[in-house]
Symmetry: D2
Subunit: 338 residues, 4 copies
């Protein structure tokens, strides 16, 4: 950490800063410049809080030099992580497209959906049994029965399932129903008690980025899960909130190369929630794969017109199949496979 | 709801839209303009989803006319709500400043803090026993012991306490320890299971605005609590996330007059988290009261230098006392009292 | 336009609204719903201002139904525009990559740059002679001499040149030096006098999106140019400003499919300014082409280490050549050519 | 400047960094930490570009320690600037409210407006003769005739006038018509040629903040004016662009204490453009004064219903008078006068 002293600071101010650095078990390194005096704190700076220095007399600014995340940082595993999901590899050479409806509605709908996902060549399936809805008056999901419908349909095609966990109290139920991948939604990215709980289980976790979470906050949320002992973490960017009102969110493709540099975790993109309209999905999906994403989370519904939620962002089974064809060519263009 | 048909839409498209409106129990009203045909849906439009119309063939856009919130809307209680917290009124003529440390640290710290809060003329106290921290390696709060230290200190001065609930599983404990006001933090504003649970109890709830939550999303989160039967809801703006990096967040004072128009719920401002620095707090606190806020949530620590978290945003007891003096004059200037 | 009357509005309020609609030469269409009365204004609503209605007694909201842009809208030319730049087509089947240094420095630098751009297979060249710099103490560009160095170098390879115009008073000079494509920078996107002037000349114009300009504002800025009679307009997205601090800007790929739907103008992407780092450029460039962009504006410098500005975002000639190879494969994957 | 070397950097990388520091006339100071080596550059770091270091091999990050602005920084004039506008002081003990219509429409309207502004107790008047409009089809201002109407009306009451300059070519005309204060609008905050020109004249300049300009960019824009020799600069915050759609912009009151710390320039607030609705203006105006602003720029129209632009944000003469009364009390509460 670098502590920048203000031009008006006294020797006593400097002495206090030095004392605090030593108290934390680090050593100081003082550098007197032409306009400012700087104090470097040498040792494991994660033990220091920039805030507590900035509040001291004579201190202008305190700057962290080392990133706050450790277990999930690229430095911790330079080769990158490949997550094994019932034999399917995520984060390696092969790109994974995980498709399915926004919400589980009926057993029949899920059978049709599973058939469509499988026919398009996808190897995993998504679907929501517990739904985070902005309005208390909107459909909140089928709950446990939804998990049953989902498993029944996906198991027919040996597809692992991905579904969202919103409430810590349901974790046992998720394990009992053998959910293959637990999704933590954007609104719960900093629900720290939930992160701690999924950090204790032995199931892959997809951690969606909060609507206005910085890369650093997102990786710190992943660090919560890793700190609990669960290293099977997959990141998923789903669009960020900006000033633009012409579309729901802005898909942040810039995050893809940045995450690839900062962390060893695999990166998924959810083009359906980002744009919010089915007609935007193919362009965004292609961009994501071209930029280096390890896979996609895509909404598909056997009959989008009748979907109980997010009707306007689901692809039809045929559209998914067409998209897969086009993504296969892009994957080849960048030396990967789909 | 208004459904705007695209210029290329057919009569069949229009017929489908009309059929869907009738299916939902509403009636249609068709208006053919020079460039577009519009369909109005007459009846309780909260039953309709704009998304499911926008996904239909020939539909360009669907626009909600009525606001999605109902119980918390100003229309539901035009005179405004006054919340009674153990005899102290929040939302009326008198402005309430709720002060205290970021986190409960020791019994002694809490006694000193309570003395300072009371001496400054505040009638309620805040403090965190369970802390939402960006880093898993940061201090996570004293937990239940913190609640005990807090109550012991605040009860000496008959001050009701405000403290944050992060985990649904701790609600029973909060009730057992007779927490007076339950705070839902910014990161949990859309933790819908938590909202549902606090909607079922008979305790005032402070609902902080998410860092990038719109007014509409925030009021819908309050609607979740109200829909459960708990009408003792207090909103708290604590700064929003923007592009600016010179300060932590931007205090959104524009929200104050807008909330006063849109909802009957009282509005607090948290100037400490907004700016992130103690030296900004007086200016922001004055702005908030001048703009019509019903109260403040302010961080004060008996010895900010040694605070275990957010050290640089806490006022000293003396600074709090000075601030109260200046706020009293502002309150008088706008015809209220402190 | 739809005018939503508030529940408390009177018949007199309604009459005033109707009178104002008729005054503007439109006709009204009244629809009484269960909660609100709506008034539709039938005719060319571009003559009406939503603001002037919203200020009238009894009016809750006024909503434009038709988009404010006309000449640049997709409806005006459904097949899309192809701009001819000295025989090179932009907006058609062939993708154009326009490369070159941030700023013109010396004649030798420009010769080396032109050779590198041409060797990589690009057909047009970019370079700045007049530079918009955040600091008054930073290098402001070589000015007219820069235009001369640039033309001398590019003409050797018959490459049209693209360069930025900042000041209306320099337009004559640009024409005299036969600049092929005039670039309007992000900071000048709403410099309306400049837009009007380039609207009067017969030169293609690249209009960069402002850092926080909405799609609608951007298209309205293009409409200024088109309204002057110049239809050779090319849009260029260069990253938008968000809350994220890990990279300079967020490349808004979602804008690509949206612009393709809303306007007939060709769309370029500038991956260099978006990310701000050379190592991000290949991923962003691939994403842009995969999402349907008509071309790129890329920074390349013969020796990035010694560049006088934006040193860390320029590719080397070799990196540009490698990038072109990879973009060629992506272009083929989506049925286009490079 | 601090240059942070990456853990993998070599001695040769370090040598190159040191050489570049020495080339710029500064000296290095090397500090080897447990995880990273840091290089401090001692001397006037404004001569160094962080970008050019970040592009060098082995460099992870380069951090400026000193702020980039100099002439406008608080350090340059710790006591603060008071601008004299034909005998009226802005930036001192007395708060100035500058009121008037959005645009100059007719001579009669301006006479009525001037009478209203003066009757309310304001000492300066605003009004637009050249209007920056999002749409090319909207009213663009009366131009030179507008200046004449404005001066004729304001001179009756000896009120200095404030009006916006959009085009460098009109500066002579502004001087000829003796405009007292030149306003640079938000959209032109980084129109550097315009800034340079107003830096050369001897007239006070109000520099509005761009919709998404950071404090640092804004102060650098002011530095452009100061670098030209004109120190009579007044800053004006007018709302920033965020994700919120319930109101036009968010008034950034946090900027007020921050500017007071960072710069010696006076600070105005424009509550009319920030919220975009007349009914929000009183709350925002009060907040601004309470937070320490030196004055306001407020829209008032003799007959808002008939205003040619921004009709819904103008106060009536009576509303302005009422507001002034309430602001007077707030000014007293914080020890100032109105």
């Amino acid at each position: 950490m670098i502590i920048v002293m203000s031009p008006e600071s006294s020797q006593a101010d400097l002495d206090h800063v030095v004392a605090r650095i030593r108290d934390a078990g680090l050593t100081e390194h003082i550098s007197r410049g032409s306009e400012r005096t700087l104090v470097g704190a040498i040792g494991d700076e994660r033990a220091l809080s920039a805030q507590s220095f900035e509040q001291m007399a004579g201190v202008e600014r305190a700057i962290h030099i080392v990133k706050p995340y450790k277990l999930v940082s690229r430095e911790a595993r330079p080769s990158g992580s490949v997550i094994d999901i019932r034999g399917i590899k995520l984060g390696g050479q092969q790109i994974q497209v995980i498709a399915g409806p926004c919400s589980v509605e009926t057993q029949e709908q899920m059978h049709l959906a599973a058939a469509g996902v499988h026919a398009a060549g996808c190897r995993m399936m998504r679907g929501g049994a517990f739904k985070p809805r902005t309005s208390p008056y909107a459909f909140q999901g089928l709950g446990v029965q939804g998990l049953e419908f989902f498993q029944a349909a996906a198991r027919e095609y040996q597809m692992p399932i991905v579904t969202e966990l919103m409430d810590v109290r349901m974790l046992e139920t998720f394990l009992k129903h053998d959910v293959d991948v637990i999704q933590i939604g954007a609104r719960n990215m900093q629900n720290f008690d939930l992160l701690k709980e999924v950090g204790r289980v032995n199931k892959p976790v997809i951690l969606k980025r909060g609507l206005s979470a910085t890369i650093s906050e997102w990786l710190m949320a992943a660090e919560y899960i890793a700190a609990g002992g669960n290293n099977n973490i997959i990141l998923c960017e789903r669009g960020i909130r900006t000033f633009e009102t012409a579309y729901r969110n802005v898909l942040d493709v810039t995050a893809i190369p940045v995450l690839k540099k900062e962390t060893h975790l695999p990166v998924l993109i959810d083009p359906s929630h980002a744009g919010g309209k089915a007609w935007m999905v193919p362009a965004l999906a292609r961009a994501a794969i071209a930029a280096g994403a390890d896979g996609l989370l895509v909404e598909m519904h056997p009959n989008p017109c009748d979907a109980w939620c997010d009707a306007d962002q689901a692809l039809t089974p045929q559209e998914l199949q067409d998209l897969m064809g086009s993504l296969r060519l892009i994957a080849q263009a960048i030396g990967r496979e789909l």
